[in-house]
Symmetry: C2
Subunit: 240 residues, 2 copies
DNA sequence: CGGGTCGTTGACTCGAATCAATATAGGTGG
DNA sequence: CCACCTATATTGATTCGAGTCAACGACCCG
């Protein structure tokens, strides 16, 4: 099976960077890709990872983490299917990328991709656009970290995940039950690490949302959002 | 006086994007620039600002702010001389840019710059590199907002500002007194808005640092860092 | 079925927010 | 140029939200 074939049946083709570049760039990119399965917990880049890796997430979730020597941990980004993974033009970033769930990654190895970037202005433009969007996202997240209450933080993250999980490209959904049920890609501890909170606080806020009927959880990672609109309200209102 | 002349004597030429592009791009860019003085408090883009503006800061400081309807405010970025100001490829960003001090800006108006970006791959590449650095910076800041104590937050911000203020391109320094004295580009309230704190908390932490002899302040905005190394320690240690 | 990790809940503490009262710089107008 | 006036900064007293410590419960794996 040729690479072209693989790209043609790629589930994220229409939403990834591949959809925004010219045929020539797409062809050159298609030549150097290979699919890869990565188990939960594996570090993709950063830290002691020597080789640069770039890729597009086909399925699964990647977390971007900052860990300080004293153990304090902050998750500074989440990436979902169709997102671009990698940090071009630098190999010294305090951030590292780790598989939050098992992943399917369409990846191209370091040097090759950077050469491609240099040679294909359209590819570089689309990476720039993605990066600018990531920056907007990071800034919205800064507002959350600096100004929102625990209640709002938890509601915001659930809302964000629920929206991404609902996208067709994402296989997080378990079964199209009534509103939206999906498997949470993060543990309680990881949720806390996203939000600048402690696990216990996250649990208490989840309990609150449950008692109000806005969400439901049975098995640990199985989530149902009953009232998406309510959830959004909670994500932006100081309290009730 | 020609534009070329103006560029030749530009104080931030060697550190801005202009230093990283080819002669042809530099020439084309030089054709469309004009200097502008902008008073403290003026909004440069975002909010109700219709016209897109791009530019390079020659002197002064720009703050990037998110304000929510209920009045909660978070500063999500600071930009110093030689930094690039503007948000290409989008006009709907919740962030807006405001002059934190009086500014001197070398600016190019919207459409023209975006066309230039498209036509000059080297210019686009250097904007991409800057954006990636901004993203790294935003993520470091997320760690600060999510995980640092008030003490560390204040020390971190002062350290960051002191480093940028010390750069030759920056005219913040007042007089080369013993260690480093400079004019703070932010009010106490703005410092609080950077850090996800309240004014009162910022004051108390400043008082702490003063009583330890690490910094000194006489007139409100005049700051001296006595012990840069100590300040850095405080920026990263849970407490003392 | 048993062990261990992860999640949940409760009691208490602590750091930063809030509320309130001055103090001081710096600008303004007389 | 000086005295006043206002916005900004500072300090104190108290409250409150989230952190910490501790125990228990439940899901998941072998």
């Amino acid at each position: 099976m040729s690479v072209r074939m693989k790209c043609n049946q790629c589930p994220v083709r229409s939403t990834s960077i591949c959809s925004s570049i010219g045929v020539e760039s797409a062809r050159d990119l298609g030549r150097v890709v290979h699919r890869m399965r990565i188990p939960e917990g594996r570090v993709i880049y950063g830290g002691n990872q020597r080789a640069k890796t770039f890729g597009i997430i086909i399925s699964g979730v990647v977390k971007l983490v900052i860990v300080k020597p004293d153990g304090r941990t902050q998750i500074v980004g989440l990436q979902f299917p169709s997102d671009f993974v990698g940090r071009p033009y630098s190999d010294t970033s305090g951030v590292f990328a780790e598989a939050a769930t098992d992943l399917e990654l369409c990846c191209f190895s370091g040097r090759v991709f950077e050469d491609l970037l240099r040679d294909h202005a359209d590819l570089e433009r689309v990476v720039l656009k993605r990066t600018l969007n990531d920056l907007d996202g990071a800034r919205d997240w800064m507002f959350l970290l600096g100004r929102k209450s625990a209640q709002e933080k938890v509601a915001s993250l659930l809302h964000l995940i629920a929206e991404r999980a609902a996208e067709p490209a994402c296989d997080c959904s378990e079964m199209p039950v009534s509103p939206s049920t999906f498997r949470l890609p993060l543990s309680r501890t990881e949720i806390a690490e996203c939000l600048g909170l402690r696990v216990e606080t996250v649990c208490r806020q989840l309990a609150q949302l449950k008692s109000r009927g806005i969400i439901a959880t049975n098995r640990r990672r199985t989530f149902t959002v009953n009232e998406m609109a309510e959830l959004k309200r909670f994500a932006e209102m100081p309290v009730e």
